[in-house]
């Protein structure tokens, strides 16, 4: 009886056994790596906007306080997007003829909001409240990154659940004194853990990790 298989099959069969395990592990790793990559999450991708608004210029160089535009950040879940009127408080006086600002003036003239492209979005099944975070000593830049250096705004963090939990589980790593919450230049001191532990106690920060904290 002739052989059914060529003798190279020995090698192929052995390779395929080890190969299958290798491919399975590799495929799992690729999926995992992709799920956190900028390709999927858009982190660090500056988004085009109808008007190329620069936080770097306004918040960084001019030093306008975050709350000048994001007015409701201390009192409501939503930090608030400024109406065109807010822009026009200054831009009715300066750069009044700048071509770049024409959409702003048009919006003011026609009483039609500028439709900004959203940069940071949470899914609808997540309850999130800006005011409580701000009130407990979590700075703007902790989540929004180096906003004072962003010519066009990008998301600095994935907003994935593991990222949320990172802070909810260990708030002492991220909390800062309340007076620095709106500082765009604050840097964590070298004794952050020590200071953090103290602030956690002082601000009565609870490590809320129940499902229902966010998924109400």
């Amino acid at each position: 009886m002739p052989q059914i298989f060529h003798h190279s099959t020995n090698l192929i069969s052995r390779l395929s056994i080890y190969g299958a395990a290798f491919v399975a592990v590799l495929a799992g790793y690729v999926v995992y790596a992709l799920s956190g990559s900028p390709y999927v999450t858009d982190v660090n991708e500056a988004k085009d906007q109808p008007v190329p608004f620069s936080h770097k210029h306004h918040a960084g160089e001019l030093g306008i306080d975050c709350r000048y535009c994001h007015t409701s950040v201390e009192t409501s879940p939503f930090a608030g997007l400024p109406p065109t009127q807010t822009c026009m408080t200054c831009h009715s006086q300066i750069w009044t003829n700048a071509a770049m600002l024409e959409p702003v003036r048009a919006s003011y003239r026609d009483d039609k909001s500028i439709s900004w492209t959203r940069v940071n979005a949470l899914p609808d099944f997540v309850y999130f409240n800006h005011s409580i975070h701000v009130a407990k000593g979590i700075g703007c830049t902790t989540c929004h990154g180096p906003i004072a250096n962003m010519p066009l705004t990008w998301a600095a963090n994935t907003l994935q659940m593991s990222w949320c939990l990172g802070c909810h589980r260990e708030p002492e790593k991220y909390v800062r004194p309340k007076e620095y919450v709106f500082s765009t230049t604050y840097e964590a001191p070298s004794n952050q853990l020590e200071l953090g532990a103290k602030l956690v106690k002082e601000y009565k920060i609870r490590s809320l990790t129940d499902c229902v904290t966010c998924h109400r």
């Binding site: 059914i4 799920s35 994935q160 659940m161 990222w163």
Partner: protein, 458 residues
């Protein structure tokens, strides 16, 4: 290998033999492998396969509709959130247990009569686990996220709830499926090599050749085979007990009256073996008839299986009794009510049918005459299958429909989608079984050869 070492049990002096006399090593191989390699078309096979496949397509239809619309198409609602899906899951997973018991425990106990039924009992286990595994996934609101059940590095930064028996279930069932598959496949390898060597067409030679993994039947191969199968048997043995124990925790860890009892694990395991043997019997009787395997699957096998059924059935009956007694003895209003409600509530017909099917009718197996009658055994096996399904219905539905608060009582009526999914899962099971019968040896050829050799030595 020393095949004798696996089958050292001495035969009892009386009773029918495990193999009818007059067979040689060659004729045994011929007879079993001809089912697979024979050129003769079998109309019966095509007919049975067509019916099963039609049922499978119905399952596909029901599942597609389920995925499109959601679990609302089923009869479940609060308070009965666990309907047919969980009943069917427990039923199927229980059926699988006989295969593992036969192949693992009876192998370790050197029960030689298991030889001719272990292969298809193992196959049955595998197919039953496949059916069972389907249901918890279908039952999820978002089945496409079923992989969330497994602990893997994820973007949510969480693990599954390891304190929940539902998560233990995932591990119990997936381990069970893996070990059963390995056990079955390892056991098949020498036979696949036989089929490879006997196959005439190139395609069959290649396919069976790949599956046989280069088996040449050398002494080294046999030695490794024996070590592997003993190891797997050792691994599978605790699974016979653990899988259904964990399944029973799904219920007993909850506080629902009728679920919250410590007797659940042993009585679930006994019930699983009971239903498993009933299913093996249900399958063995037609297969031996249709493929003329009466010489291999003898009356001795049927009688032994009947005895196992009788024994496990009695354990189950004891379980029912103790459950009811403890409800009375606990003096707990809700426990007592739960059991009175079983007997006198709106679903009393299910409860009393269960007692009839699982306890009363199988008592006829005490009679040697009944055990010697193939049609009677077949009917009783089917009745036990139905009874075991009813048992899960009683546990799941009756316990849930009236718990502590009368204001939250409700009724459960299965919809046609529930029935279609149940019937469809049988279609899946039977389709796999028909394919198995057609393409793989239903009886272990090489183990039968060793039986023949032992007969000759006598």
């Amino acid at each position: 290998m020393e095949p004798e070492s696996l089958h050292r049990a001495s035969e009892p002096p009386t009773g029918p033999p495990v193999l009818e006399p007059g067979y040689t090593v060659g004729s045994v191989s011929d007879k079993i492998s001809s089912i697979v390699l024979g050129q003769r078309r079998r109309r019966g096979w095509f007919f049975g396969f067509a019916v099963s496949f039609a049922l499978l397509m119905m399952l596909l239809y029901a599942v597609t509709y389920l995925f499109a619309i959601g679990v609302g198409i089923w009869g479940i609602n609060i308070p009965i959130g666990w309907g047919f899906a969980i009943i069917n899951f427990v039923w199927w997973i229980g059926i699988g247990h006989a295969g593992t018991l036969i192949s693992a425990i009876l192998l370790l106990l050197r029960q030689k009569w298991r030889t001719s039924i272990n292969r298809f009992a193992e196959a049955m286990t595998l197919f039953a686990v496949s059916c069972a595994g389907l249901f918890p996934i279908l039952h999820m609101g978002r089945p496409w996220l079923a992989y969330w059940l497994f602990p893997y590095p994820n973007t949510m930064g969480t693990w599954p709830q390891f304190r929940s028996p539902l998560v233990w279930d995932v591990f119990a069932v997936s381990t069970y499926a893996t070990v059963s598959l390995l056990f079955w496949f390892v056991g098949l390898i020498p036979d696949l090599a036989t089929l490879r060597d006997r196959a005439k067409s190139r395609l069959k030679q290649v396919v069976y050749g790949i599956l046989a993994m280069g088996w040449r039947g050398s002494a080294v191969h046999w030695h490794r085979y024996e070590v592997a199968s003993l190891l797997l048997a050792g691994l599978a043995t605790p699974l016979v007990v653990s899988v259904h124990t964990v399944v029973s925790f799904d219920f007993s860890a909850a506080i629902v009256p009728g679920w919250h009892t410590t007797i659940f694990p042993p009585y679930f395991v006994a019930g699983a073996i009971y239903s498993g043997f009933a299913m093996v019997m249900t399958l063995a009787i037609p297969i031996r008839k249709f493929y003329h395997l009466e010489d291999f699957i003898t009356m001795r096998h049927l009688e032994n299986m009947a005895k196992v059924m009788l024994a496990t059935g009695l354990i189950v009956a004891y379980g029912y009794m103790m459950e009811t007694f403890m409800a009375f003895y606990s003096a707990d209003t809700f426990e007592r009510y739960a059991f009175l409600n079983r007997m006198r509530g709106p679903y009393m017909i299910a409860y009393w049918s269960l007692i009839l099917c699982n306890i009363l009718i199988p008592q006829s197996l005490w009679s040697r005459k009944v055990r010697a009658s193939v049609p009677a055994l077949f009917v009783i096996a089917i009745i036990v299958n139905i009874g075991m399904w009813l048992e899960r219905f009683v546990i799941v539905v009756i316990s849930l429909h009236r718990d502590f608060l009368p204001s939250s009582w409700g009724m459960y009526y299965p919809t046609r989608w529930d029935w279609m999914t149940l019937a469809g899962s049988m279609g899946l099971f039977l389709t796999l079984l028909y394919l198995f019968i057609r393409y793989l040896p239903v009886i272990s050829i090489f183990e039968m050869r060793t039986l023949v050799e032992e007969e000759e030595k006598k």
